[in-house]
């Protein structure tokens, strides 16, 4: 390959990288400078933290953040427990209709809950769970994706280990907990990171099912906050945006390698 094409390719790669990061860089720029510098770029623009303060006061971010964390954790905990049990049953137990059950589980990979918002809303209204954490969480707790990933992993665990545990007198639950769970740790990490970023960012279903600050997550809060009618300026919206993505972004930067590898691992299966 001649030198020129190489230079062109490399600069294209970096240009694309810059474009991909640009919105975030810009948001940081707008958030730490006074409003009049939102579209004026100058090295000497004065720095300020006022936008963050104002954004923080303008919307109940703390409340939203608590809601998001609570919802994400409820979903993740539920998923880990239920998917482990279901995956074990589908991977290692012999029972009538196992194939059918697995097919029914896999259906959810295609028919994701957000597509069924109309009926799921009715169901949750019937259960009196509108505007609660559980309302947001329940449709996602049984995750076909989680069951599928864990089943694949459990199938690679040697049967001998399970037999040995059985001879030692372990119950089924103890076998799962002591044999399967420790061996599937990378899968759990991968699934957890994917699940956290999915539910931290999820919007449509929480929008439908929440109506007050009591249960509204950050994404829904941001959509109200950013609405043009609310009359806040760009710098403050940028600050708010950064507040809302901050925790996830920090998590991402800290666990970057794991994130990428988790998504990769989850993708290959």
């Amino acid at each position: 390959m001649n030198r020129l094409t190489r230079i062109v390719l490399v600069s294209m790669a970096w240009l694309l990288g810059f474009v991909w990061l640009f919105p975030l860089i810009y948001a940081i720029w707008a958030a730490i400078h006074p409003a009049e510098y939102a579209t004026k770029f100058s090295l000497f623009a004065p720095l300020t933290m006022d936008n963050f303060k104002e954004a923080w006061n303008e919307a109940p971010f703390l409340r939203y953040m608590i809601n998001t964390v609570a919802i994400t954790l409820i979903i993740l905990t539920g998923q880990l427990v239920l998917c482990t049990l279901a995956a074990y049953a589908l991977a290692r137990m012999e029972f009538f209709g196992r194939g059918l059950m697995f097919a029914l589980v896999l259906m959810q990979l295609m028919v994701v809950p957000e597509i069924l918002i109309v009926e799921n809303y009715q169901t949750l209204a019937g259960l009196n769970l509108i505007d609660t954490y559980w309302g947001v969480a329940l449709p996602y707790v049984a995750s076909a994706f989680g069951i599928f990933l864990l089943r694949q992993t459990f199938k690679t665990v040697p049967q001998d280990l399970e037999n040995a545990a059985k001879i030692e007198g372990c119950s089924v639950l103890a076998i799962i907990w002591k044999v399967y769970v420790p061996l599937a740790k990378p899968t759990y990490l991968a699934f957890s990171l994917v699940s956290i970023s999915y539910h931290w960012n999820n919007f449509l279903w929480p929008l439908v099912v929440t109506n007050t600050e009591k249960s509204r997550p950050l994404t829904v809060g941001m959509s109200i906050f950013g609405a043009p009618e609310s009359g806040v300026d760009w710098s403050i919206i940028s600050a708010g945006t950064l507040i809302s993505v901050g925790p996830l972004l920090i998590l991402f930067i800290l666990f970057q390698r794991q994130f990428v590898q988790s998504f990769m691992q989850a993708g290959i299966k």
Binding site: A86, L104, V118, Y121, T123, N201, T241
Partner: protein, 278 residues
């Protein structure tokens, strides 16, 4: 027994609603239930001009965002997988949009696109261009949404390609080097064919995403102007929760489910193909 809790929830929130959606599309009228099954909701489906617009938008949206994202994803994966300096940083840059919430980044894009003070128009102003109404012009709005979608999705698909690239046998490249094959030939004859199963897998997932991801519409255009950028799932939401026509929303959902069934069949085809390659 172990399967029961997960199965209960799956049935409640996946299978039961599917059945009920189908039932409601025949028996429903507005938010009420009728005693007799009718095809009224479906008849309306055929007469609904907005729906035609929405379907046209949805398919155009998928037809453009999916291939562009895939091509970019392959390019990104090749760059990041190569020997370039700073590829770790580059990989992070490409991947960052994936982990950020659609809603939050849509707020930033809204600013890029806004007519008077928006960054894009300021940029065009520098070149003496009068500026484009990115979100308000019916002929542009949908494309503005597509640009943002591609930005959000390409890095996500890159990951799958990256994973696939790392499984390709280095011997093949050594062999190609001995043959003195050009870089483009190597890509066309070795890399691309071996990435084919991944491409099919990504294709199905990208299509699925194109139909289920409408978060940015809530911030950027709300489906407007005059439905020029409305997509199917957003239209379902509007019918169910703004116009309170649950029955019609159900008929629309059935339509969306049909699209998904087609995708599911495609996916099964893909799995067959993957087996074939192994």
């Amino acid at each position: 027994m172990l399967l029961l809790p997960a199965m209960c929830l799956l049935v409640t929130f996946t299978h039961y609603p599917v059945v009920k959606t189908i039932a409601r599309s025949f028996y429903g009228f507005g938010t009420k239930w009728e005693s007799k099954a009718t095809l009224d909701n479906y008849r309306y489906l055929l007469e609904d001009e907005v729906l035609m617009q929405v379907l046209y938008n949805s398919f155009l949206y998928a037809a453009i965002t999916v291939p562009v994202s895939i091509v970019l994803a392959i390019a990104m994966a090749l760059w990041v997988n190569g020997k370039m300096a700073g590829k770790g940083l580059l990989r992070t840059a490409y991947f960052t949009p994936t982990v950020l919430p659609m809603i939050s980044v849509a707020n930033i894009w809204l600013f890029f696109y806004s007519p008077e003070i928006g960054l894009l128009n300021k940029l065009l102003g520098v070149f003496g261009h009068g500026g484009v109404n990115w979100l308000g012009d019916p002929s542009v709005a949908l494309y503005s949404l597509m640009a943002m979608t591609i930005w959000k999705e390409a890095g996500f698909f890159m990951i799958f390609y990256l994973a696939a690239l790392q499984t390709i046998d280095q011997n093949l490249y050594d062999a190609a080097a001995i043959e003195n094959a050009g870089k483009w030939t190597v890509f066309r004859r070795v890399t691309f064919p071996l990435l084919m199963p991944t491409t099919l897998f990504v294709l199905v997932n990208a299509l699925l995403n194109a139909f289920k991801l409408v978060d940015h519409l809530f911030i950027l255009t709300k489906g407007g102007p005059n439905n020029a950028s409305n997509l199917l799932l957003y239209y379902i939401f509007e019918n169910a929760f703004s116009f309170f026509d649950t029955a019609y929303a159900s008929a629309l959902t059935v339509l969306l489910l049909l699209v998904l069934v087609v995708l599911a069949l495609l996916q099964f085809g893909v799995i067959e193909k993957r087996v074939h390659y192994r």
